[in-house]
Subunit: 199 residues, 2 copies
Amino acid sequence: MLDKVITISREFGSGGRELGMKLAERLNLPFYDKELISMSAEESGLAEEAFLHYDEHISIQQEPFKQRLYTPFSMLYEVSMSDQIFLTQSRVIRKLAEQGPCVIVGRCADRVLENSINLFVYAKMENRIKRMNSLETGVSPERMEERIREIDKKRKDYYQYYTGCEWGKAQNYHLCLESSLTGVEGCFNAALAYLQCYI
Amino acid sequence: MLDKVITISREFGSGGRELGMKLAERLNLPFYDKELISMSAEESGLAEEAFLHYDEHISIQQEPFKQRLYTPFSMLYEVSMSDQIFLTQSRVIRKLAEQGPCVIVGRCADRVLENSINLFVYAKMENRIKRMNSLETGVSPERMEERIREIDKKRKDYYQYYTGCEWGKAQNYHLCLESSLTGVEGCFNAALAYLQCYI
């Protein structure tokens, strides 16, 4: 029986979220992706907007002064807003893991947890543009490519800043799946087969 | 029906060769690993010892003078022995691919060919030491770890020197499999499931 959390890291537009949802459904596990934002806001008492703003990216810039006025004095020179957000999300992720196996997408969960099974999903740029354009109409392929590169860069920087590990380096994950060749379905079949000694 | 070559890159001791053999057997495909050495020697007319010596590693150092005396004059300042070996092996790999699908282990076949399905296999150091110690008795775990690191470094340098790509970066492969968690059997099941749209 599966006794571990499955984490999914993913390039934007590669279908990682879809793969996670399919695995959660098939294995009858809770699924967490954007859900972590409101759960973390609730846990911390901070506004959900702050979690949305800093979701999977870091701000190297100093916080605006106005915002700092509302930061508790003891934290003023200690923990930046993005650090607070990361720490809260990590606490929520660890609590979820204590409750039992589940599927968690993104948010460095593969490094926050010590004993998870970690998947990385990626795809060719042309396939990711096509995929995202089919989900969001009215955006040119050029603008979509720009957006994909921006979001990937944010995810990569965020991962590397908070974990010290290299995003997309195979050895950081148990199974890395390219979704252009076989579609999300092929990745789903491969992941299920890989996990079969646990399920 | 599978119409592509399957290439396998692998960390030393991770079971990549075993996975390749199992896939070749199951899919009824020719399998090439060390076989490429004698095939390339035959293709080039160079001694098999030279291919063994330079197998999957580059020599940055100048060739010894004695060896250079036997190098054809026109090649003396043009193509080093390791370059000759790489070029011959690449020619052999392309010829094999022209004959139809097969499984090829190592030798940058994933970059030599343009349309292959590329797997990367890796494992935790402790598992690789255990695996290699079970195959070769009389070597201490400490010495085995040293050997594993040496061979990995050679493979990595060789791959990066001849392809310009990063060895072990997930996006360079279609499927990357960690064999400590599930054994070679789990990787085999995952690879078969991934390939099922082709077989």
